[in-house]
């Protein structure tokens, strides 16, 4: 329906997602609002748009850090649900938006929204992270976000023939690096002690991190849990 003076509602947003009840949307918002960091990230909004002018995602997507700060400040439950299901994965997390004169942190709000979305198993977040599971597996299990053997032509065709040349030479190139902590390694970025990795696994279990993984991808959760528990048992 086009907006006219008769149906214009300058207050809170109308529901665009009837598949979820208002109570469910409100529950998600309260989970965001109750995060320890929420009050550090939101102080109100002048609607000046300085955050939007600096935002890379605003140039390429229908995305606005100003709308996020506004919706949060107004506690506009419907709009926040639109944001959590449609917008949050467009944010580049560069934090250019923190030049806000009210010292808001829209990028930080997006982080909390993403966390809540994952913890509650929202399908839109699972879709946005399709293809990303192998990275989570790597960082949680090996303690490195990326490794040389992840540079495969199938995954990086847009990086050109360099990737093909790299894969053909990866093993010898890795031996030709003077740093002891890197030399020769292809499945990790640097050498990490076993004790250190066990400490990392302890953090994942003790911090509640594994609950998030379970909601995101149950088979990834099973795989990670099996390997990490076995390693921790061995000690």
């Amino acid at each position: 329906m086009p907006t006219t003076l008769d149906n214009w509602n300058p207050g809170k947003a109308e529901s665009r997602h009837p598949e979820a009840t208002y109570e469910e949307k409100e529950r998600l918002f309260l989970e965001v609002k109750n995060d320890t960091r929420y009050e550090d990230f939101l102080y109100g909004c002048y609607e000046c748009g300085i955050c939007v002018s600096a935002c890379p995602s605003a140039r390429f997507y229908d995305f606005s850090p100003r709308v996020i700060a506004q919706a949060m400040a107004r506690e506009d439950v419907e709009r926040i649900y639109d944001i959590i299901t449609e917008d949050i994965w467009n944010c580049a997390q560069c934090f250019s938006c923190v030049r806000c004169p009210r010292q808001n942190n829209p990028g930080g709000l997006v982080t909390i929204l993403r966390e809540v979305s994952l913890k509650n198993g929202l399908q839109e977040s699972k879709d946005a992270l399709q293809g990303y599971s192998r990275v989570i597996y790597k960082v949680m299990l090996k303690g490195n976000q990326v490794s040389p053997d992840m540079l495969q032509p199938d995954f990086f065709p847009d990086w050109g023939p360099w990737v093909q040349g790299f894969t053909e030479n990866m093993h010898v190139w890795r031996k030709a690096i003077p740093m002891d902590s890197i030399r020769g390694l292809t499945d990790v970025a640097w050498r990490t002690d076993r004790k250190t990795l066990l400490e990392l696994y302890t953090i994942w279990f003790e911090s509640g991190n594994m609950d998030i993984i379970k909601e995101l991808d149950e088979s990834l959760y099973d795989l990670l849990t099996e390997v990490m528990e076995e390693e921790l048992e061995e000690g």
Binding site: D35, T36, R37, D40, A54, P56, S57, R59, A92, Q93, C94, F95, S96, V98, R99, T111, R114, E115, L118, A128, L129, G131, Y132, V135, V139, M140, N144, Q145, V146, M150, D158, G160, W162, F166, N169, V172, R174, K175, A176, I177, P178, M179, S181, I182, R183, G184, A189, T192, K195, T196, L197, E199, T202, I203, E206, S207, G208, N209, I212, L216
Partner: protein, 406 residues
């Protein structure tokens, strides 16, 4: 009425003068005070910056101590995994001055890249990862020097959260107790590019390669100076104190022509999640907002930055844009690689140019470096490694500066 109004000329005059900020009127609290309070209460161990250190001014006029040596090198996933010449250049520079450092194997990723990409963690998990790394550094007696811009920004933010939220400190301490580790926060969180900034005069004294023919643009890394903005180094002599001084100050010291461009504040397009699984955004942003703008406005021989994601994004995004006839072809290096090259580091054994995809050969040729000669030498190394007569390149092969010649 108009007699009392500020004129345009007065505004331009004011803007032409360097900004010198007064710490006593800083708009944010001084984190050092809060850390000292927590230390006095016995809540944390505050790891002091070791001597020798140099003090510099940060954005709001406060002082920041930058250690020169006795540093624990908190490595970067992206450096070590995909741009190893970045990390080896940082250590090579330390070795040139016989500075004491420690390259640890009890360090994990900060996991910040994953967190910014997927949010598949939480505040407690992230703070515990940081604190475990800092405790590991403290146990060795060395002071953390953070290689990655994202780790640097992430840790600054986590430090604020730890300082302000007792429940978070309690949660982290409970996890650290299981490992027998204390809750340690360093007196300063230091990025390697701040160490490079501190060392720039020393580098210039030992410069072997004339860089005066080079025009370079600078991409300041978002997570260095946008996250907890007050903890980045500013200098009235550099951009009038209006932008961070790191990187630019080094290039000027090495006699490069640093050229400006209008989108300097824009991010590189990395996006954390985007660069791994949605690169249409990354490629478009890197080329249209950064590389092409640099070429149109400054036509640089090189662009220089100081973070993992920025080097990768700006470098690797240029290939696909050629198919669309976009203006590309600017090689990308980190400040540490530039400093090492200036001091005679081997282009392949140390700087590892072969891990960079945008054509770097014209840049080396403009410096008067016969890259083919050094590439052939490096190929000889690789042949020996393939033949099993050499296990790999070591510091013994790489330490000696070479008089790079045409």
């Amino acid at each position: 009425m108009t007699e009392n109004m500020t004129t345009v000329e007065e505004i331009l005059e004011r803007k032409s003068k360097p900004v010198i900020r007064d710490a006593s009127v800083a708009p944010t609290e001084d984190m050092h005070d809060r850390l000292l309070e927590l230390e006095a209460k016995g809540e944390i161990i505050l790891q002091k910056v070791p001597e020798p250190y140099v003090e510099f001014t940060t954005k709001y006029g406060r002082k920041k101590k930058i250690p020169i040596e006795h540093t624990w090198h908190h490595k970067s996933c992206g450096h070590c995994g995909h741009i190893p010449g970045y990390a080896s250049s940082i250590l090579w520079l330390h070795r040139q001055f016989n500075l004491d450092y420690h390259d640890p194997t009890d360090q994990t990723s900060c996991t910040g890249w994953n967190y910014y990409a997927s949010a598949a963690s939480n505040a407690v998990g992230q703070a515990a990862v940081m604190s475990r790394n800092f405790a590991a550094a403290y146990e060795t007696g060395y002071f953390p020097l953070i290689h990655c811009g994202t780790s640097f920004g992430h840790y600054k933010e986590i430090r604020e959260q730890l300082v302000h939220h007792k429940d978070l400190r309690d949660d982290v301490r409970r996890i650290l107790d299981k490992m027998g580790k204390p809750l340690v926060i360093p007196e300063e969180i230091v990025h390697y590019s701040e160490w490079v900034y501190a060392m720039r005069d020393k580098f210039a004294e030992r410069q072997l390669v004339d860089m005066s023919a080079i025009t370079a643009t600078v991409h300041p890394a978002c997570h260095y100076y946008k996250i907890v903005a007050e903890d980045a180094i500013y200098d009235p002599e550099i951009y009038g104190g209006q932008r961070t001084a790191v990187v630019t100050a080094l290039l000027e010291k090495l006699n490069m022509n640093v050229a400006d461009y209008s989108t300097w504040f824009d991010c590189c397009g990395f996006g954390f999640r985007h660069v791994l699984v949605q690169r249409d955004f990354t490629r478009s942003y890197a080329v249209l907002r950064k590389i092409e703008t640099m070429i149109n406005e400054a036509n640089p021989d090189l662009t220089v930055t100081h973070d993992t994601g920025c080097v990768t994004t700006l470098d690797k995004s240029q290939f696909a844009a050629k198919a669309h006839d976009r203006k590309v072809g600017v090689p990308v290096l980190s400040d540490a690689q530039v400093a090492a090259l200036a001091m005679g580091a081997h282009p392949f054994r140390v700087v590892q140019f072969h891990w960079h995809s945008t054509d770097w050969r014209p840049f080396l040729e403009k410096l008067g470096i016969n890259w083919q000669k050094y590439w052939d030498e490096f190929q000889g190394d690789l042949d020996q490694i393939r033949a099993g007569t050499k296990s790999g390149i070591t510091w013994e092969d790489a330490d000696q500066p070479i008089h790079l010649t045409a």
